[in-house]
């Protein structure tokens, strides 16, 4: 059987204008990479949003695979803007194949 390693998968829902801030934080704590996927619409405390891509106020999901330590470091680093900007951060354990590089 293929051997797998356990890593943290972290997904951050953030404003598109803030991508740079988040990815800089990911780079800064030494995580090897990240992947950005699009988001269509949503609802939170501030009501529903949709079609914000036209206005440039839309959001994205930023996904990164990291070791437990790096994940903790990232969470620590990013916590302040999580609160001020209303980002959403979830993380959980995943098995990664040939994942020694993460």
């Amino acid at each position: 059987m293929i051997e797998t390693v356990i890593r943290k998968r972290i997904e951050i829902l953030a404003d598109k204008v803030m991508i740079r801030t988040v990815t800089d934080a990911i780079d800064a704590v030494g995580i090897t990479g990240w992947t950005i996927t699009p988001v269509d619409s949503g609802k939170g405390r501030e009501g529903r949003w949709r079609e914000e891509r036209v206005m440039g106020t839309d959001k994205v999901l930023i996904l990164t695979i990291a070791s437990q330590e790096n994940a903790d470091a990232l969470a620590e680093k990013i916590a302040p803007i999580l609160t001020s900007h209303g980002f959403l951060l979830t993380m959980w354990d995943v098995e990664v194949i040939r994942g020694e590089r993460f």
Partner: protein, 328 residues
């Protein structure tokens, strides 16, 4: 009001309501209120807004390459920049006082009203050209110059007395000076000036002939988006709604008077009025998400996009045109 003006206003209003451009906006608005699933893909809408900015920039640049730059252009630029810096002050006072917003949200909303809406401007140009009072080509440069000063005023107001937050300031300044619409408008303007009428001839079937049709579809989409936001909104009050109508009237009149005072022709004075009357819903919201994330987009976007924008398109552009005809 003298009879001539009244008749002129009637004609203008009528022209507004038989113009396909405005009618498509109304169609979108009504369709969204009826909760139809009509929707224009966001990539298409974004593409159309880029097209409109490139086209209006080019057109302005070509016009200036022919008319040349004189002292009027300089005055118009100065007036526009000054208005963008100062208009948020009155807006802020109204929003905190009558509107009952806190400092943060009042500052954020005020920034939107000092800045401009490209599509409102473009629609006004179309309507004024139909009415025989075409604004000068340099007004495009005035528009680009008015996009960002208001952001600085709005931030100062919102953060007055607070510990100046460092985080994000450099991103913000960058966003302010290199934001997409400023770059595209001014870039296309310069290309238009370099290429002149000859260079433009080649691309005019695309940028000129298609312009009004694209504007129709874009306004259809803006009607949909404006009405949907109104339906989804939670934060709107009648006080805020009233301000969102009062501000464009006041700012529009001030801008038009200013334009007349510095000697602009009728169309250009009206265009300056429209720029002052319009509220941003693209450049400024993005800047606010960066610099004032705690401010509520449910307030500033709904006011500028769902109330002020339709009011300007349907009523205020015609009013401002009539006022400019009177003052110049």
């Amino acid at each position: 009001m003298p009879q001539g003006i009244t008749r002129r206003m009637d004609a203008a209003a009528l022209q507004t309501f038989t113009s396909p451009v405005v009618l498509f906006f109304v169609l979108g608005f009504l369709a969204a209120l009826a909760r139809s699933d009509l929707a224009i893909p966001e990539a298409i809408a974004k593409g159309m807004s880029l097209y409109l900015m490139a086209a209006i920039g080019l057109k302005g640049g070509v016009a200036v390459s022919q008319s040349g730059v004189d002292v009027t252009v300089g005055l118009a630029l100065a007036a526009g920049i000054g208005a963008s810096f100062l208009l948020p002050l009155m807006a802020y006072a109204m929003l905190k006082g009558f509107g009952k917003l806190d400092q943060l949200n009042a500052g954020a909303v005020a920034a939107h009203y000092g800045s401009v809406s490209v599509v409102t401007f473009v629609t006004a140009v179309e309507i004024y050209e139909l009415q025989g009072i075409p604004p000068g080509g340099y007004m495009v440069a005035v528009m680009a110059a008015m996009e960002t000063p208001a952001i600085l005023t709005g931030l100062l107001l919102a953060r007055r007395g607070m510990d100046r937050q460092q985080q994000g300031t450099s991103e913000l300044l960058h966003e302010v000076f290199f934001n997409a619409s400023v770059v595209l408008l001014l870039g296309a303007f310069v290309i238009g000036m370099i290429g002149g009428a000859d260079g433009f001839a080649d691309v005019s079937p695309f940028f000129e002939a298609g312009f009004k049709g694209v504007l129709c579809l874009f306004l259809l989409d803006m009607g949909l988006i404006a009405a949907r936001r109104l339906l989804d909104s939670r934060a709107m009050t009648w006080r805020l709604g009233s301000i969102a109508i009062a501000l464009p009237i006041i700012n529009g009149a001030l801008g038009t008077a200013l334009g007349a005072a510095i000697g602009l022709d009728t169309g250009s004075a009206a265009a300056l009025g429209v720029l002052c009357a319009s509220a941003s819903y693209i450049a400024v919201p993005a800047a606010m998400r960066l610099a004032l994330p705690q401010a509520d987009p449910g307030i500033y976007l709904t006011m500028s996009l769902s109330v002020t924008f339709p009011f300007n398109i349907l009523v205020n552009i015609a009013l401002i045109g009539a006022l400019a005809s009177r003052l110049t």
